[in-house]
Symmetry: C2
Subunit: 293 residues, 2 copies
Amino acid sequence: MDFPSELRRQAAVVERGLDQYLPPADTRPARLHEAMRYSLQAGGKRLRPVLVLATADLFAAQLGAALPAAVAIECLHTYSLIHDDLPCMDNDDLRRGQPTAHRQFDEATALLAGDALLTHAFALLAESYAAQPVLAHALIRELADAAGSRRLIGGQMADLLAEKKDATPAELEFIHLNKTAAMIEAALVLGGLVGGADAAAIATLRRAGHELGLAFQIMDDVLDATADRATLGKTPGKDAKAGKTTFVKLHGLATSRQLAQAHSAAARAAFHELPGDTAFLIALVDSLVIRSS
Amino acid sequence: MDFPSELRRQAAVVERGLDQYLPPADTRPARLHEAMRYSLQAGGKRLRPVLVLATADLFAAQLGAALPAAVAIECLHTYSLIHDDLPCMDNDDLRRGQPTAHRQFDEATALLAGDALLTHAFALLAESYAAQPVLAHALIRELADAAGSRRLIGGQMADLLAEKKDATPAELEFIHLNKTAAMIEAALVLGGLVGGADAAAIATLRRAGHELGLAFQIMDDVLDATADRATLGKTPGKDAKAGKTTFVKLHGLATSRQLAQAHSAAARAAFHELPGDTAFLIALVDSLVIRSS
């Protein structure tokens, strides 16, 4: 398998899916639908939707069957970025090298576009899997839990609170587990559900997602501390500037890199327990801990 | 039937349901869960959840079966109020006679509490109706459509855009149909689905919701133009102040009141087509067009 070309192929499938499964840009009111598409189409790694597709592949799911779930999770991820960038949150001007939604449009439009992408994630799952309501229900339950107040949003809240004081290692772990790992876990589980994975395989996918999510977030902290704006495509050094506790601040750069390696090794080990050809997923894990952006 | 005492009884059931079906206030992170409960518990008419319960009653659904759907729609409605009150939207200090969420907490917490209530609406439906995945799927699909970018959020966006220029009667109708009527329609349809209503009854409920939603919104415009702050429990006259086009501005007070009466008569007529004892629902319609807040 040629990993870079396979990754490009899967990401291209995701791009087409985003276009296919979002309301057209001229849907009334057009400004709202333009803003939804603007943020979704700003690029990025498409990590979560590619994980959905690659995991569904392991269980020999048809591509068409997995694509709406992949798009739904990217809608949900993009909503969280739009709201996270707002002035009352991180107040960021740049995302993926482009003006953030509230800079390109305005704050109210960005707020509503985020709300709309969150809602669309559930509407899309309900609509696309309507012929299989048991599957639709399982997908929605998984995504709603991962995105809820105990997980994704709870992680965002804890992250905000951590700006005001030094976070303990346990608090930082809560943030990483929920702000980042929750959606990576959900991506793998959605892929497994679409593929018809059994309960044991779903549990393994959840464990792989947990480890991969932690590895990914620690590398994000490392990159925030070391990369430049052009490479990163967003404002670097903002965690340090905000006085945020990061893995790098708690453990130093070298130990953070080692921790990321340990978590990625655990993710690889979990993938090895799964059926099918896991070469692509394992190469994806490797690429995330040696990335530069 | 004694309408006021029956309304109080149903609203009390909703209050208990809100407490029962929300994560405890000390759930980590506590500030987020406190803010979710603060906004939900600020009172209000509980119109939408009472409509869910009353409609399910028509079809002889057990109260326990309808309550999670009632709570879910109130979570969704409350999220839309929290976000609508934010500084970048209506910038309101007062809601139901109490400080708005961003005044009581802060803007970021209010934003996240809104996101969390929206997500919780879907999580709660998925969880509470897990033993009936076909019903869970139908409820989620209905709510996600009503809350989406073409309906509730589309109505909010159109409402914002209408502040910048004079809205035409057609634009104002789009706003009312989506910003207000969509969730009232959804409340009746959710109640019908929980009660096992057939497709014809669901279509009648949708029509009743459409008419009731328009009647309700026109009366809101009338009250905004005529009531005082103490009676209304929120800042009155803000539509006029914002230069917003309202039914009152387009048609005058007397004609607006007549239009509200016409739509409420159409809602009553639709309810009369339904099985069961519709006396409570019809009294509720009547109460909404003679209300003072």
